[in-house]
């Protein structure tokens, strides 16, 4: 008791004293993208700092720099009084930095004790692992943090996600970590488990750890954090003490940005409904989703990561099964059993993960474009290369693709140009409805503008577009209407007239107006 009281006072002192870790002037670029630009962040002992920002603001990149996975292009990392470099994950670990991710990175097949002490297990006098000692130490660590209910000998995979988090924290405790990074730790936890996690964070605070807490959920941030740092587009735009700072001030920091490029002006010519979704449900991912998509319309889908937007789109595109609800395309019922079915009926889905789900790296550009249209570019079962090239040329030219030759491997292109190839691939199937999932994620400004301009052209030709995007300027700049989803449910569909970005953020985060 005595020691706890002492630590609490010292915690208070620490808030006004030196940070345990400071990042100064950190910049990091990837080909075509500037992920972080001259950002700063300080973590204080015994304090929880919330890192807040939209998707793509640079939070994950920063975490990767702090844990030694990425190397910054510029800037310094100061721990205590010393500037350090973190060339490897091991080095970061050695400096007492540990991260707990959404999906914990532990070893399912090993026991709890082994997970806690992997790499620093107690040894006996023969230099072999002292199992008895290790289990005893594990129990002690777990007990100290009030997680005595976890069996040190249990196999990790038999534990729930919440208990896995506890094991990860126990591991951090066992190496005497000074800095604990929690990257959306509550994403897959129940309300009760979240409460337990918060008690644990309180415990870590009282133990003098500096905690970086990343979350999209304001209620959690206000519940647990002492300080905040807001990132926007790879820059640090504000920081301070959370007490006395209102939610709307933080929302303003998150969204109030300079317009980075002009969106194409268009005069929407919106016709009859093309796609009608009614009560679409999935056992675990989304529930009772209803909306209409009209001819010549861009319908934006906004929401936090994990709101279920992509899952709904994948169901419409025939990639996942639904448990209830109906879909109609024009006047015919739409029941796609596979992606091929959906493509035949004229619905295409441009997936979010370009590298994994979009481009086929290793195949040349023209073969990427023709992949879903092979039946059209072949005659009596034999591919006609001239037609494949013509098809690829037709669509890549419209998208202003920059490539030396259509025969070059798509993997040699920049991210932006790869995305153009992916979009060309789907347009070449001549769809009636095109669903774009985060179409400009991680691509450069120039390619972004090309994609946006092209979307405007498509709807002008009578195509209908659904655009899932987490970028506010994009969703407001491009959409005719905006559907907001939250935790697998439709919150509201807004007409994009004098719509304020903060309205969307509030709807997506579930903050009352």
């Amino acid at each position: 008791m005595h020691t706890t009281a002492l630590q609490e006072t010292s915690t208070f002192e620490a808030a006004n004293s030196a940070p345990v870790l400071s990042l100064n002037g950190i910049s990091k670029s990837f080909p075509g993208v500037r992920a972080l630009n001259d950002v700063a962040l300080s973590l204080y002992p015994g304090q929880v700092t919330a890192l807040i920002g939209e998707n793509g603001a640079g939070k994950s990149t920063l975490v990767k720099i702090m844990t030694g996975i990425y190397q910054p292009d510029a800037g310094e990392i100061v721990i205590g009084d010393d500037a350090v470099s973190l060339p490897t994950a091991h080095a970061a670990f050695g400096h007492g930095i540990t991260a707990i991710h959404q999906e914990t990175v532990l070893f399912d097949e090993l026991s709890v004790a082994e997970n806690i002490f992997l790499g620093h297990a107690p040894r006996n006098r023969f230099g072999l692992i002292d199992w008895k000692q290790m289990r005893a130490n594990a129990r002690e660590v777990l007990d100290t943090m009030g997680a005595g209910h976890i069996d040190a000998e249990a196999r990790l995979r038999d534990l729930g996600i919440a208990n896995k988090h506890l094991v990860a924290v126990a591991r951090a405790m066992s190496i005497d970590a000074r800095i604990v990074i929690m990257d959306e730790p509550t994403a897959s936890l129940s309300a009760k488990e979240i409460e337990e996690l918060f008690q644990l964070i309180e415990f870590l605070k009282s133990d003098g750890k500096a905690i970086l807490f990343i979350s999209h959920k304001f209620e959690e941030i206000y519940r647990i954090a002492d300080r905040y740092t807001v990132f926007r587009d790879g820059e640090m735009v504000g920081e301070g003490r959370l007490a006395g700072t209102s939610q709307s001030e933080i929302v303003k920091l998150m969204v109030g940005r300079a317009v980075d490029h002009i969106f194409p002006k268009r005069t929407p010519d919106i016709g009859e409904p093309v796609l009608r979704i009614d009560g679409l449900s999935h056992p675990t991912e989304f529930d009772a989703i209803s909306f209409e998509l009209r001819r010549g319309e861009i319908l934006g889908f906004y929401g936090l990561v994990g709101a279920g937007r992509s899952e709904v789109m994948q169901a419409i595109a025939g990639l996942t099964r639904t448990s209830a609800g109906t879909m109609r395309l024009e006047d015919a019922p739409l029941e796609p059993k596979s992606a091929a079915d959906a493509i035949r009926s004229g619905i295409v889905y441009v997936p979010e993960e370009r590298g994994r789900q979009g481009v086929v790296i290793g195949l040349p550009i023209f073969q990427n474009v023709s992949l879903p249209s092979l039946s059209r570019t072949s005659k009596s079962g034999i591919l006609r290369l001239a037609e494949e090239f013509a098809l690829a040329r037709q669509y890549t030219e419209r998208l202003d693709l920059r490539a030396a030759s259509l025969s070059q491997d798509v993997g040699t292109l920049s991210g932006g140009n790869q995305q153009k190839v992916v979009i060309a691939k789907w347009l070449a199937t001549r769809p009636r409805v095109i669903i774009l999932d985060e179409p400009t994620k991680g691509i450069d400004i120039g390619s972004k503008a090309a994609v946006h301009g092209f979307m405007a052209e498509l709807v002008a030709e009578g195509l209908s577009v659904i655009m899932v995007s987490s970028e506010l300027p994009e969703i407001i700049g491009m959409s005719d209407r905006i559907a907001v989803m939250r935790e697998g449910r439709m919150v509201e569909i807004f007409d994009n007239k004098d719509l304020h970005p903060e309205t969307l953020v509030r709807a997506a985060a579930g903050i009352a107006a």
């Binding site: 590298g355 979009g358 790296i361 073969q367 691939k425 991680g442």
Partner: protein, 325 residues
């Protein structure tokens, strides 16, 4: 990737030429066209099998049951010929391909519908097919006396200066080239191997593609079943025992990536010919057959190292872009 693959095939062709030249220094007769054509003819069966194996490997699978399939089909065909010598040989060849396809389809169904790893499936069916060969033959051999003259002679006939057996290989090379490079299905095989996830999004049924690949490898195994028993004039349960390793080796040496999606018809053919040249040259220069095994083994490891390096370079590019996304 294209230029890289081309590189690899040119390097392999150069290695083969170098090998031939080295042997020719001591034994000029080895490098004569007629001798080299004999090597090609001797390794026809390996070339055809390697093409089938490559199709499977392209889809990120492997077919270890090809040699056992060959033995079973060869036995059935030889027994059929012995019992009904009147059945015309082309009919028997079609029958061999049909039986082989059926066995391949069995592999394919297990991989596609039950989602069992191909290496496990075909390791199992390897034993099953060998066992079945024993069951149908009762362990007996079918030898030259029992086979009809036409059965033995067909592939020994000469057409335009080449043995008919060689023409089988040439036809197979042409057919596989046409199939893999110029048909929608062939293209889908490559796409499904390089990036199965993106292929699913593009409307390709990756499971069905694997099934088709196994049917193809089964079909060529069946064809080679006939070619083998008629060439060596014997059908026994021991036919082509352990040959599956040679087939996989030819593919690996030919630059077919075990990770799927990368490889060409030319690569598979050159890989088989490389083994062919080693196998034919070493006895000529009085190297013991045990060294042949060691040298083939070293060639496989060297090929894998070279391929891995080539692919890694490509991987780094992917990663950098994945990071940016």
């Amino acid at each position: 990737m294209k230029s890289l693959t081309k590189y690899r095939e040119i390097w392999l062709a150069a290695a083969i030429a170098l090998l031939v030249a080295a042997v020719a220094i001591r034994f000029p007769a080895f490098a004569t066209p007629s001798r080299l054509l004999t090597v090609f003819n001797d390794y026809t069966i390996l070339i055809i099998l390697a093409l089938g194996q490559m199709t499977v490997i392209l889809t990120r699978s492997i077919d270890l049951s090809m040699a056992a399939n060959l033995a079973f089909t060869g036995m059935v065909i030889a027994m059929t010929n012995a019992a009904y010598p009147a059945i015309p040989i082309p009919m028997l060849i079609i029958m061999a391909m049909a039986i082989g396809s059926l066995l391949g389809a069995f592999n394919g169904i297990l991989v596609w519908k039950l989602d069992i790893p191909p290496i496990v499936v075909t390791l199992g069916t390897l034993t099953v097919f060998r066992g079945a060969t024993f069951v149908v033959s009762g362990g007996a051999w079918v030898n030259a006396d029992a086979m009809s003259a036409a059965f033995i002679q067909l592939q020994r006939g000469v057409f335009l200066g080449l043995p008919i057996l060689s023409w089988f290989a040439i036809a197979a090379i042409a057919a596989f080239y046409l199939f893999l490079a110029r048909t929608p299905l062939g293209r889908s095989i490559y796409a499904a191997g390089v990036n199965p996830t993106a292929s699913v999004y593009a409307g390709i049924d990756v499971g069905r593609i694997k099934f088709v690949a196994f049917v193809i490898s089964g079909m060529v195994s069946g064809l080679c079943g006939y070619l083998w028993v008629s060439r060596y004039v014997i059908a026994s349960t021991e036919v082509a025992n352990g040959y599956e390793l040679q087939i996989v080796a030819a593919c690996v040496i030919g630059g077919i990536s075990i990770a799927g999606g990368i490889g060409s018809v030319a690569g598979a053919v050159l890989g088989a010919l490389f083994l062919g040249v080693i196998g034919s040259a070493l006895p000529v220069i009085n190297v013991s057959p045990f060294w042949q095994l060691a040298i083939s083994g070293a060639a496989i490891i060297l090929a894998v190292v070279l391929n891995a390096r080539g692919e890694k370079r490509q991987g780094r590019i992917i990663l950098r872009q994945a990071e940016a996304a």
